[in-house]
């Protein structure tokens, strides 16, 4: 089996395995029902939500169009604020920079806030490999860390876990004697107690950034738990790990983003904490980090800026497309084999890594279009997935049989007369074959479809035949 075939089987197999887990499927169904409702409520209450979307889109477009100005401007202001600014071309380079800073300070313990960028670079594993103790302090991230898993969702990393599963993880990980831990409240209280120690002992804090403000060098951090703020405030060294495209021109632009992000992500009007950090503690401050670093990762984003997929850089990582995607709801985040799952991940993972590494993801889509409808940045995700499928075909990635089938279809589709004759013939054949049961148990070339269900035998003519019949009826 070729690497490509493994890739295709990887997603399909992982999705099938995910569907076999009844409890997890129920959990995903529940989330797929409730999370869109929460967003819709917040959007309806807001008022001019579409105008807000358009405004932020134009703003981000302007920022990306002028990134050559805004990025150095941010860097300049951040340095004036007392930060050390680093650029990393690759994920490995970001990890090496962070490790180097930890080593310079003889750090042993790291308290880490939620950051998809550090998931992308697998920073925690890189630091742990060098014997640093890294604790994920976001509750969801902490749960998946204890489980030895990757986040299943970019906003709710442990949403796939049940209370019972989390209870087992906590009982095994925390030596706190006998206790019940039957409710989320008890689990949250225990995490708070355990985590408090980590915050107080950590030598280095690592956080991500929801935005970087060019005019004043602040980085924006949006959380509900307050863990990111503790990471940014208690350890003596703070490292902000983020990416080069996360710029906004002004503080007031962060306000617009804040409005859009919270409502799109969790249906909240705003999160509990929206914080802006400029650098190390000031002369008269009694607390706060004494040294702060900002690491700006590129990892192919500047290439994306020059490509047809540039709009993908407008993604604000809210997870709305995940919450509204039927494929994500069915397969779950882990099936994607990438830290970025769902529609945005199906576009981003092949672009940040390669189509060869994720050949299956552009196909993980029913083209229903819900993702684009709810995307706060109005990113044309279904179009991009289609374009990636085209790229795949051009570069001959994917199984040969599949590509031949698509070529045959394309050949037929541009010959309407032949297409109609062929579909007419196949409908007659299928009708004849299924005349007794009204359905077919097996179909040639479609074993995957009929493997799970019967195919209803066509009862009438082709679409075009029926359409013409209706037209004739109307003319009479």
């Amino acid at each position: 089996m070729s690497a490509t075939d493994t890739g295709i089987d990887g997603f399909i197999n992982a999705a099938e395995t995910a569907l076999e887990d009844i409890a997890a499927t129920r959990q995903r169904d529940m989330l797929a029902r409730t999370t869109p409702l929460l967003r819709q409520q917040a959007v309806d209450e807001f008022g001019e939500f579409d105008a807000l979307r358009r405004h932020v889109k134009r703003l981000r477009q302007h920022t990306l169009d002028n990134l050559d100005y805004y990025l150095p401007r941010f860097e300049l202001e951040a340095i004036h604020n007392g930060n050390q600014v680093h650029y990393a071309d690759t994920g490995d380079e970001m990890n090496a920079i962070v490790l180097d800073i930890c080593r310079q300070h003889g750090a042993r313990r790291v308290a880490k806030g939620k950051s998809m960028v550090t998931e992308e670079t697998e920073l925690a594993a890189a630091l742990q490999g060098e014997r640093l103790e890294v604790v994920e302090t976001d509750l969801g991230e902490y749960i998946v860390q204890l489980a030895g898993e990757k986040p299943a969702h970019i906003v709710g990393p442990a949403r796939h876990k049940t209370v019972g599963q989390i209870r087992e993880l906590f009982l095994a990980a925390h030596p706190l004697g006998e206790r019940r831990l039957e409710h989320p409240e008890a689990l949250v209280a225990e995490a708070r107690q355990v985590m408090r120690e980590h915050f107080l002992k950590a030598d280095v804090g690592i956080i991500g950034a929801n935005a970087l403000i060019a005019e004043n060098g602040y980085s924006m951090l949006v959380t509900n738990e307050g863990n990111g703020d503790l990471c940014a405030s208690l350890p003596k060294v703070l490292i902000v790990c983020t990416t080069v495209e996360r710029l906004l021109p002004r503080g007031e632009d962060a306000a617009a983003l804040q409005r859009l992000l919270a409502r799109s992500a969790t249906g909240q009007r705003q999160t509990c904490y929206t914080s802006f950090y400029s650098g190390p503690r000031r002369e008269l401050d009694g607390a706060g980090p004494v040294e702060t670093h900002i690491v700006l990762l590129d990892n192919r984003r500047s290439e994306l800026l020059a490509s047809d997929y540039r709009e993908m850089l407008q993604c604000i990582r809210c997870g709305a497309c995940l919450n509204h995607c039927p494929v994500f709801a069915a397969a779950g985040g882990h099936a994607y084999g990438s830290v970025y799952p769902g529609p945005m991940g199906s576009v981003l993972a092949p672009l940040l890594e390669s189509l060869e590494a994720h050949p299956e993801l552009p196909d993980a889509c029913t083209a229903c279009g819900r993702c684009e409808e709810v995307c706060p940045a109005s990113i044309p995700l279904p179009d991009m997935l289609r374009d990636l499928r085209h790229d795949k075909s051009v570069r001959q990635i994917g199984s040969r049989g599949w590509r031949r089938g698509l070529r045959l279809h394309a050949w037929l589709a541009v010959r309407p007369a032949l297409y109609q004759r062929a579909s007419n013939l196949s409908i007659r054949v299928l009708h004849w074959l299924g005349r007794r049961r009204g359905s077919l148990r097996k179909l040639p070339f479609a074993a995957g479809w009929t493997g799970k269900r019967d195919f209803p035998a066509p009862q009438r003519g082709t679409f075009m035949q029926q359409y013409r019949a209706v037209e004739r009826e109307r003319e009479r």
């Binding site: 990025l71 442990a158 999160t271 503690r281």
Partner: protein
């Protein structure tokens, strides 16, 4: 390593952008206009702020003057802890409060392990979100608002802003005048990471209590309480 990456990254970005001068960029940005803000729950700024605080699961008290404010702090501490003790930042407004007359024993400084309640003096309240803003500094140790179980905040009703943009427009953040951190706090710390069920008191405070200092009518408070109730609930 980082310097080479910087050069390469910026070169790639220059190749993919328009290379406009700062003036043209500022003009273009100005033409983008302003973002729409959330529909206010009430035409009165103060009522809107109070509605949003309550919707964010914060609690409210009203104090007409500074002595009343201390009494409101005392009442809260008594209700929650049967205690008169709390920690307050070295903030001039807080230092000038009539603590002794009001019967509260504050300790000024940074919260230490075991202390459960801390009081901050908010720079601003944002009506649009119900958030209060704090700037870190000597007056405002981060442990006080991040590690206390109960976070009490004193907010002067004259310090209300309609929306988030107003905060940025009126806050001077030129070089050398930028606080290390600016925190917008809208409600107690929370998480819905377990089965998407909302739980308060994740890492930070389990409760956020805002004492409004100034003229607030009982009717305004009542209107806010009614508007803050989810649709379908009454009483």
């Amino acid at each position: 390593m980082s310097a080479d990456s910087r050069k390469r990254t910026l070169a790639r970005i220059r190749g993919a952008t328009r290379g406009q001068d700062a003036e043209s960029i500022a003009t273009e940005l100005g033409k983008l206009g302003v973002a729409p803000i959330a529909r206010a729950p009430h035409r009165n700024l103060l009522v809107s702020f109070m509605v949003n605080v309550l919707r964010n699961h914060g609690s409210l008290a009203i104090a007409a003057d500074r002595l009343e404010a201390v009494k409101a702090v005392r009442q809260y501490l008594y209700d929650k802890f049967r205690s008169q003790r709390l920690v307050a930042g070295n903030e001039p407004h807080l230092a000038a409060m009539p603590w002794r007359e009001g019967g509260v024993l504050p300790r000024f400084g940074e919260l230490t392990p075991g202390e459960k309640a801390a009081l901050s003096y908010a720079d601003w309240g944002i009506a649009e979100t119900g958030a209060i803003t704090l700037a870190t500094g000597k007056h405002n140790p981060p442990a006080n608002h991040l590690l206390a179980e109960h976070h009490l905040v004193l907010l002067d009703v004259d310090r209300l802003l309609p929306d988030l943009e107003s905060f940025w427009r009126q806050t001077i953040l030129t070089r050398g005048k930028r606080p290390r951190g600016i925190n917008f706090i809208a409600g107690p710390s929370s998480t819905s990471d377990i089965e998407a069920r909302l739980v308060y008191g994740a890492h930070g405070p389990q409760a956020l209590h805002i004492i409004l200092l100034g003229k607030v009518s009982a009717e305004a408070m009542e209107t806010a309480r009614q508007l803050a109730q989810p649709p379908g609930e009454s009483g």
